[in-house]
Amino acid sequence: MGVRSWIEGWPVYRQLTGTDPLGRGAAAKSDGSRALTARTDTADSVARSVCPYCAVGCGQRVFVKDGQVSQIEGDPDSPISRGRLCPKGAASKSLVTSPLRQTTVRYRRPYGTEWEDLDLDTAMNMIADRVLAARDETWEDVDAEGRPLNRTLGISSLGGATLDNEENYLIKKLFTAMGALQIENQARI
């Protein structure tokens, strides 16, 4: 290493003589940090998304590498959020990649004291059985005066405010056809 490159390798020298007088950019870089690349640069793809927390609707860019979410950042194009995210939105990557996420079906039988495993298909069929049974047991055709009711009050549902419009639409459509009236979400709360 020559004297010149030795001196130029000294950050204070670069800070005093270069274009970075505050020492917050190029002047502060080491060989190691110069070689670093942002995860956002090496992503395989970017999805345009929206923050899942409150209803402001901040734009998010979801960076994907090898089929995994590698980073989530605010979308600077969004006229709502201009690239900003709050502490929750900024923690979205931790949310979706959290090791606490449950990724398999869990089943607790009546009077059970522990969770058990259950196959997803089996669970779907068991739920369909129970929905139909509850509906049959509590079905009301007509009221006391013979006016139609077409319903079950044996089934309830709560949730929707964190879900997509398309999901809410199918939920309401299916439950309505089923005669299940007691469908509610956070908008009531």
């Binding site: 999805a47 079906v105 869990r106 139609p148 997509d164 056809a177 299940a180 709360i189």
Partner: protein, 865 residues
């Protein structure tokens, strides 16, 4: 707002930089207060008194924006002489019925209108939360009204308003709210000075306003001020609801709510809507003005979207398949029914009522008494594990080996693992692209419900039961893709938008819908989101390349309109009120409305248009009637029908209050929804004895670092680290009074529960002088529960269940409690403590405060104020 909607708050700061003055009213000094120009501490539950004071200040000093008020509001409309005000009725309006604690709204009607033509009585409206139908339009009322545009007629709305708010003086505001008069005047002056042709003011609220037994009237009071000052339908104006979940607006528009169908159509009621004709007439209300005259079209398009080819004119488009309401089927009624063993199965879809709903113990005991429960979530939330980890395990109220509820936990896909639209708080739909596949068994709700429907329909394929026809005839053929057989969200969005049956062409606007079955549309107010076959919600033209309105970012309902009722941004003649506030105006050369936004008006109807005397529907709207979804085309300072607790807001104390109402003999909202269930005992309030057993006011809200019931934040390590513990904020004065130590423990007790929290002694909370007493308030975050990385007692356990009569939302922003030093007792001793408080505050039988606290409800002037 800085605390719970931080990124939205950047626009408040932007406005402040440009000279706007920011006021913050809150029981507790927050991050918003720190950045505001002025902070007003307020006693929780008294906002109507404060806002009523502002209304009085406006009217007494004639500071209203008179041209706007006369032309665009119902200030000039004359009300029938049968109407009697709270001024003369000890705090009740005319028409109160003691038997069922509701109003007959007939005496509130406009002069010249027949007795109310509404098909439903007030009790049915309360039971079915009918106020929610008005989210996109006013209640039905005849279009033709008698008016006195000099505003001098003693029974015109302007004069009625003036009398109604006469007693909301600055002294009274101080007495009720604890806000010093100089602070009140500072607010009132700034608000009124910022009104007129050149200036507008904006009002922002959140669930701090809605979660009250008189919540709808809070917002009504704000709306009255904004109408009086000409701040509605204009840029920089409005009443902005900051909602708290990513698509809670969408789940109201396309409702997973018991009393609504998509686009604010009412769920049919067994007695009032026996036929399609009766149903649509109850919405269209023949004779009223505006776009709801087309209710039949919207209804038929929904039925066609649901039942497709099976829905024909001959069978009333399968209207007969619809389930019918008979009363209150809301979430709190359901929970009490679960405790009583009436409900068999319960789905929880990204919601955690064990922590997030009022009266957590009732929620958990209800879930412990089901046949089965399906929880679909990202994490094992409290509502999935109540049977082994709830606080009731320790008290012995739930024992796993005795709890019969069968629980299915199905992992859900996250927001990056599925595609679809969220509707944010300003009605803007934004499409999300899918980034990755969901892990393991995790699936979208779209997948779950599509396949549940598919399996159920397969099971019933050979059924001959009439009840199964609605399922078998359901239009349920959605294209699927990928290894998990995921249904196409875009196909569902296209159905929501609507299309022409013969050609499949997506509709561009709800005005293209037909009522003859030739078009289909799942949610009429969303028509246009798929115009031209393009997913308009996916548009992402950078904000920096667009006007401030940014019309090419996403899509807003209705018709991509960003400010509703924006015809009001022009004067009656169609010219901008001022250059500074130019937004939408009449272009006389082209004979059309134009501007920066999509005009909220028929494009070619000139300002000079005047309807024929008996015109109704859209033709009844005059060229200077901006409020095109109101039955009379006007902004309502006074609601002649539809608001169940009165045509104008009135200050009532919260159901649990340490204070006798200083304004009226009537203590609390007389029409509130009451549940007399043994589990729902309430703390006594004046004029009843023993209210001093629960001497303190508590309120709850969010922290920036957590989200609602914590299911998406206490499970996330960076957020859990930032706010790791349940705590209670108390003032230094209260800390001395109750012997509380900073960073020590305290417990809070109500008639429902006792919870513990770490103590944060802070002058963010101010003791307030109310009616010559000092009232202490404490504040708690409501995010904590017993699962996740960080845990703590749940603040919502403290609340009882009392609901607003219009929308059946619970009062969970204010209650009374006692505060004691140290940790709460455990196990049986915990129950004994709560029982002891109940004994000391009256007796052990369930307690419900009286609905009416005035002896002379229907005659005589007030003797005392």
């Amino acid at each position: 707002m800085a605390e719970a909607h931080p990124v939205g708050f950047q626009w408040v700061m932007e406005a402040k930089r440009r000279g706007a003055k920011v006021f913050h009213v809150d029981p507790r000094f927050t991050r918003t207060s720190a950045l505001a120009d002025s902070y007003l501490p307020i006693r929780a539950g008294t906002d109507i008194a404060l806002l009523g004071g502002v209304i009085r200040y406006i009217l007494d000093n004639e500071l209203d924006f008179r041209e706007y008020v006369v032309a665009y509001t119902n200030a000039a409309t004359i009300v029938t002489e049968e109407y009697a005000d709270t001024e003369d009725m000890h705090g009740l309006f005319s028409g109160f019925n003691d038997d069922n604690a509701t109003y007959d709204q007939a005496s509130w009607r406009y002069e010249g209108h027949s007795q109310t033509q509404t098909t439903r009585d007030s009790e049915t409206q309360r039971e079915t939360a009918a106020g929610l139908e008005n989210e996109s339009h006013g209640a039905p009322v005849g279009g033709q009204t008698e008016r006195d545009e000099t505003l001098q007629h003693p029974r015109c709305v302007y004069q009625i308003l003036k009398r109604h708010f006469a007693r909301y003086t600055p002294e009274m505001v101080e007495r009720v709210c604890g806000i010093p008069q100089d602070k009140f005047f500072e607010l009132a002056r700034a608000w009124t000075e910022n009104s007129g042709r050149d200036r507008t003011g904006m009002l922002v609220y959140s669930v701090g306003w809605t979660q009250h037994s008189v919540g709808v009237q809070y917002i009504r009071t704000g709306a009255i001020i904004q109408l009086l000052l000409g701040n509605v339908g204009r840029p920089g104006g409005g009443v902005m609801a900051l909602r708290g979940h990513a698509s809670i607006q969408g789940s109201t528009d396309i409702p997973t709510l018991f009393n609504l169908l998509p686009g604010y159509l009412p769920m049919p009621h067994h007695a009032n809507h026996p036929t399609l004709d009766k149903w649509v007439d109850s919405i269209a209300h023949p004779g009223q003005k505006g776009f709801w005259g087309n209710a039949r079209t919207y209804g038929v398009n929904l039925l066609k979207a649901y039942w497709g080819d099976a829905a024909t004119a001959d069978n009333d488009y399968c209207y007969g398949y619809m389930p019918r309401m008979t009363g209150d089927h809301g979430t709190y009624q359901q929970v009490l029914d679960m405790i009583d063993g009436k409900i068999k199965g319960y789905f929880l879809l990204g919601q955690n009522p064990a922590v997030g709903s009022a009266h957590g113990r009732a929620q958990r005991l209800g879930m412990a008494n089901l046949d089965w429960l399906v929880v679909r979530d990202l994490f094992e939330i409290e509502s999935a594990t109540f049977w082994k980890n709830a606080p009731e395990i320790e008290t012995g109220e739930i024992a796993p080996e005795e709890c019969r509820t069968e629980v299915f936990f199905l992992p859900a896909a996250s927001h990056v693992e599925k595609e679809g639209t969220f509707t944010q708080t300003q009605r803007l739909l934004q499409w999300r692209e899918k980034a990755v596949e969901p892990p393991g068994d995790a699936r979208s709700e779209l997948w779950f419900f599509y396949h549940l429907g598919r399996i159920i329909r397969e099971r019933l394929a050979t059924s001959t039961k009439p009840r199964d026809r609605a399922l078998l005839d359901l239009a349920w053929d959605y294209p699927t893709h990928g290894p998990t057989v995921e249904p196409s969200a875009e196909a569902v969005l296209r159905e929501i938008n609507g299309y022409d049956v013969a050609t499949g062409r997506p509709l561009a606007s709800f005005t293209e819908m037909k009522d003859d079955g030739s078009t289909v549309g799942g949610c009429w107010i969303y028509t246009g989101v798929y115009a031209d076959g393009v997913n308009q919600a996916a548009r992402r033209k950078p904000g920096s390349e667009q006007s401030l309105v940014a019309p090419e970012w996403g899509w807003a309902w209705p018709a991509n309109r960003r400010i509703l009722y924006n015809r009001a941004s022009a004067d009656p003649d169609g010219n901008p009120w001022s250059e500074r506030k130019r937004y939408v105006w009449w272009d006389a050369d082209k004979s059309e409305w134009t501007g920066y936004d999509v005009p909220d008006f028929e494009k070619t109807k000139p300002p000079s248009y005047r309807p024929e005397r008996d015109a109704s529907g859209v033709a009844g709207i005059a060229g200077d009637d901006p409020f095109i979804l109101q039955g009379d085309g006007k902004g309502w300072l006074y609601a002649p029908t539809g608001v169940l607790d009165g045509p104008m807001p009135t200050h009532y104390e919260p159901v649990e209050s340490p204070v006798r109402n200083p304004l009226y003999e009537q203590q609390a909202n007389p029409t509130r929804k009451v549940y007399t269930h043994p589990i729902n005992t309430l703390n006594p309030s004046p004029p009843e004895p023993y209210s001093q057993v629960f001497p303190y006011v508590f309120t709850v809200s969010r922290l920036t670092e957590h989200h609602t019931a914590g299911g998406m934040s206490r499970t996330v390590s960076p957020l859990a680290e930032l706010q790791p513990e349940m705590f209670v904020e108390v003032s230094p004065e209260l800390a001395v009074e109750r012997g509380l130590t900073h960073l020590g423990w305290a417990h809070l007790i109500t008639a429902r529960a006792a919870i513990e929290a770490k103590v944060l002694v802070t002058d963010r909370l101010t003791p307030l002088r109310v009616d010559d007493r000092i009232i202490h308030q404490v504040w708690l975050p409501y995010h904590f529960g017993f699962e996740g990385l960080v845990t703590g007692d749940s603040a919502n356990d403290l609340f009882g269940i009392s609901l607003d009569p219009n929308v059946l939302i619970q009062e969970s922003k204010v209650g009374t409690c006692d505060v004691r030093s140290g940790r709460r007792p455990r196990g049986a001793e915990l129950l004994a403590l709560v029982v002891d408080y109940r004994r000391r505050s009256g007796d052990l039988s369930p307690h419900y405060p009286p609905q009416v606290t005035t002896d002379s409800a229907d005659s005589g002037p007030d003797q005392e104020v």
